[in-house]
Symmetry: C2
Subunit: 160 residues, 2 copies
Amino acid sequence: MTDTDIRPNETAVRLAPAGDAQLRFIGTIHTPWTDRKDCPRQGRHDGPICRLVLDPVWQPALTGLEAYPQIEVLYWLDRSRRDLVTQSPKSDGSITGTFALRSPVRPNPIGVSRVRLVGIDGPEVLVRGLDCLDGTPLIDIKPDRCAFSPQVPPKPGDTG
Amino acid sequence: MTDTDIRPNETAVRLAPAGDAQLRFIGTIHTPWTDRKDCPRQGRHDGPICRLVLDPVWQPALTGLEAYPQIEVLYWLDRSRRDLVTQSPKSDGSITGTFALRSPVRPNPIGVSRVRLVGIDGPEVLVRGLDCLDGTPLIDIKPDRCAFSPQVPPKPGDTG
């Protein structure tokens, strides 16, 4: 579960095992990066093509996704420790709260990336803009909120 | 687990129980909406103030968050069914894949909202822009990727 040692001034907390809700992995992400040190810190929209390979049962759930030039990808950062409340990413003794960082080290290590949709090929979605390791478990795909228009009329709370 | 009936042309799949990874709720979201029909379909940055109430153990993890005018909030849509691969949100028989919608009905019902940070008061974070029900479990807070500058130098993959 852990792949980082604690640096000076970082703080871990003791926690009971997580078990409030269960995730189901829906596929696997394939990227060029097999070692954490090679991953970019932030994905770039001119970065290499990465492949989201869905379990076949979910292939019909891609219907209509091709209309969106940008999509959000959620994935599970399965090698990250989950018990740090403060971190010192510069290793200089300064501290930052976990929720003020986009570090993979967080109580629920879910990565959220907005990526460019390059194409869809059967159960595979090709994108640019990811920064995660090859083999990262995929948990969701959504149209990007910036590009998204709901398919249905507004509800009462939508009007000011 | 389910709160919606299947409409014409919607497709559900049979799935084994989810259990690939476990979430830990970090707090609770308080909003003005206690019934799904009153929730806005999309949050607005001029919408009402909502409160993210953290479990006290996570309060130090907010250190530094005040610097970000926009934050991302992840939450668990605990009343949604998880087995639909296609949906018909207009109820007109047209179908759209689950991954081409931002519907709460999805294999891993995680909501991602970009919201305006209004203030931080101890373990409570005040925001505008949410659209979820009162009592929704909170799973993560991150600086918004658009506003975020990493605190550390680029890594090899960051340069083109």
